[in-house]
């Protein structure tokens, strides 16, 4: 009779319906290939919908009888994760519960103080840190000594120093090519680089990564080929913050995707810097099989643009939308309600601008003041009040009170619904 692994690890993702957590895929792929864990740690991934009742999440976790439970946390699933952790703690008192992700990483100590069921937070890039944490637990050493970990030591919350970023992203085995993530029918995510060239005040896309690091072209090409031949996967999307990062890169990606596009594979909602798109770039996107792109402007109010460190050039933006529309690509224009600096009239003007632009799709959202972002750090200075509990929705700004923000949200939703009601 074979014995199981010494350390059973359950990785739990509470995702948007139909999606699987790529973050957990990376973490698992890296740990599975870590020599220190080989033959000792066994991994199971539970990808569940974020709407699943936390009691059933705990039920599924308990059924795996893990020694370590890891959750990936975003502002959208944080409440559900915390609820599930509390129940798992009662069911599996000896399990070591670890969380990581953009929601908890910048506020790790606060999370451990407010969530007694959680044992440790993995800060920053999780792959190396989580693997080392598992190795440390296997050896029965102190988790709070692991770089990038915040953990408990004799009832106190202690943070080890930050871990440097992984210099060579190819050191992380591909979650797809290693089988750590099985593409499911529907859609899948692909990442070609980490970091963001922009520094928008409300966004955590750069996750504090100071520079852009890329996966090798060979790696990206291999992943794309693998996903493109997956049965039932008619589309996938790139989660890169800017798909058209550089002209050379766009040309290369277009060439990579073109053969699959000609077989009907489509890319949906890739994020683009629309002000750098002309007919030639639109043609490259079209050849890549891009069916829809997502872009700003988020706001067109001068003061908010300044506070949020964004730029907006009306004519270039309009030209970009026109170029994409001419190439048959649907554009989703995003606006954020509640940015500091915007007055009600600015928000309404933004709605008018995107509605009259008629890009194909409108997306209105309310500002979420995310941990680790510039606005989170400067909230008081710029007059932002927000809910400290996730998803950290804005309560009021220096320019718009609570009631008018709610009105603008409702107006924005009505605009979205009316906009979509068309032939």
């Amino acid at each position: 009779m074979s014995r199981g692994p010494a350390q059973k690890v359950a990785l739990v993702g509470l995702n948007s319906p139909g999606y699987r957590s790529l973050a957990l895929g990376y973490v698992r792929a890296y740990a599975q290939h870590d020599g220190r864990l080989a033959g000792k740690s066994g991994f199971m991934t539970l990808d569940l919908d974020v709407n699943v009742d936390p009691w059933w999440v705990a039920y599924r976790v308990a059924g795996l009888a893990p020694d370590v439970v890891g959750f990936s946390v975003t502002c959208w699933n944080a409440r559900s994760v915390y609820d599930a952790c509390r129940i798992v703690r009662q069911v599996l008192p000896a399990a070591y519960i670890v969380v990581g992700g953009p929601e908890v990483s910048p506020i790790a100590e606060d999370v451990l103080r407010s969530q007694p069921a959680i044992d440790a937070v993995v800060r920053g890039e999780g792959e190396e840190t989580f693997a080392e944490l598992l190795a440390t637990l296997l050896r029965d050493r102190s988790p709070w000594r692991v770089e990038g970990v915040t953990a408990r030591r004799d009832g106190e919350v202690v943070s080890a120093p930050d871990r440097p970023l992984i210099a060579d992203l190819d050191a992380i085995p591909s979650p797809y090519l290693t089988g750590a993530v099985e593409p499911v029918e529907g859609t899948a995510y692909l990442e070609t680089y980490r970091g963001c060239p922009h520094r928008c005040g409300y966004c955590f896309e750069g996750k504090g990564f100071g520079r852009i690091r890329s996966f090798s072209r060979e790696r990206v090409e291999a992943e794309a080929a693998y996903l493109a031949q997956t049965a039932g996967l008619g589309s996938f999307t790139f989660i890169d913050p800017v798909f058209n990062l550089t002209p050379e890169r766009l040309e290369w990606l277009s060439g990579v995707m073109e053969p699959y596009a000609s077989r009907g594979v489509r890319l949906h909602t890739v994020e683009v810097d629309i002000e750098r798109i002309g007919p030639m770039q639109a043609e490259l996107l079209s050849r890549a099989g891009v069916a829809s792109v997502e872009t700003g402007p988020q706001t067109i109010g001068g003061r908010a643009l300044e506070v949020c460190r964004r730029s907006f050039h009306r004519e270039r933006f309009m030209a970009g939308v026109e170029a994409l529309r001419s190439a048959g690509i649907r554009v989703e224009c995003d606006l954020i309600v509640g940015l500091p600096g915007d007055r009600p009239a600015d928000v309404v003007e933004g709605m008018r601008f995107v509605a009259e632009l008629d890009p194909g799709m409108l997306q209105m959202s309310t500002l979420h003041v995310l941990p680790g972002t510039d606005l989170w750090q400067r909230a008081e200075e710029v007059g932002l009040a927000f809910d400290p509990a996730p998803p950290h929705e804005v309560v009021s700004t220096g320019e718009i009170g609570f009631a008018d923000l709610r009105r603008l949200e409702v107006m924005g939703n009505a605009l979205m619904e009316h906009y979509q009601a068309r032939i």
Binding site: P344, M351, V410, M411, A414, L415, H418, R422
Partner: protein, 238 residues
């Protein structure tokens, strides 16, 4: 924001308060010039953005579907129809309307329930027919897999002012996308402001946008945003 050109296919709307209006004002009138040639002129003015067919009271159902289909064929992407629970066109099967290209259904109400609505309109069963149209629209949209916006238009006058918040609530429960509170300009602003404000708040709390027309500038006070509508109507008569 979303520009719609109002294409009046006939003069007169049946769902108006009979206690306010004189008989001549509410008498349905035959389409003055509902010919396709005139409609084309309207389309030019509409610039192919959106069109809301109103004054449909005396049209036969087949004509309404025909007009909508014609607009769709000419490239108008957003086509709406205003119905009021008392029109002959209300019996047009909703599925046919949606199939012809209609994507906005605007339903006129004068009250939150049949007692008030029917009494003011003077048409027994009008309220139930208006509600039935909304339900039929949702059902047909689901069957056809198309996105449809349902708008409520509440006509407010001295006889139903007090009912405005309840009417908004009722429409919100029915799942409408937005509501227009069309205030009779003859309303006493001092008397109506409070009711209108309560109706706006009822909409906000229930996450339905309420736009107010017919109130003088400044009358909405701290609810000034409600003077804005997501649909901007430009008028025209076919």
């Amino acid at each position: 924001m979303l520009r719609f050109h109002e294409v009046r296919l006939g003069a007169g709307e049946e769902a108006a308060c009979r206690r306010c209006a004189s008989a001549s004002e509410i008498e349905p009138v035959e389409p003055a010039a509902g010919s396709s040639a005139v409609l084309d002129i309207e389309l030019t003015a509409a610039n192919s953005a959106g069109a809301l067919l109103t004054g449909t009271g005396s049209l036969d159902p087949g004509s309404l579907v025909e007009y909508a289909a014609r607009l769709a064929a000419l490239g108008v992407g957003r086509i709406g129809v205003r119905i009021s629970g008392g029109n002959s066109t209300d019996s047009t099967p909703m599925r046919l309307l949606l199939e012809s290209g209609v994507r906005v259904i605007e339903v006129v109400f004068l009250g939150s329930g049949p007692e008030l609505h029917d009494a003011l309109v003077g048409t027994p069963g009008g309220f139930d027919r208006a509600v039935g149209a909304i339900h039929a629209c949702s059902e047909a949209a689901g069957e056809l897999g198309v996105k449809v916006a349902v708008r409520g238009r509440i006509r407010l006058c001295a006889h139903n002012l007090h009912d405005a918040p309840a009417a908004v609530m009722r429409l919100a429960e029915m799942g409408v996308t937005s509501i227009v509170l069309e205030c009779d300009p003859r309303l006493d602003v001092r008397r109506s402001a409070e009711w209108v404000a309560a109706a706006c708040d009822t909409g906000t709390v229930n996450r339905v946008w309420v736009a107010v027309t017919g109130m003088p500038d400044g009358a909405l006070g701290d609810k000034a945003l409600h003077a804005l509508d997501v649909i901007s109507l430009t008028e025209g008569v076919a």
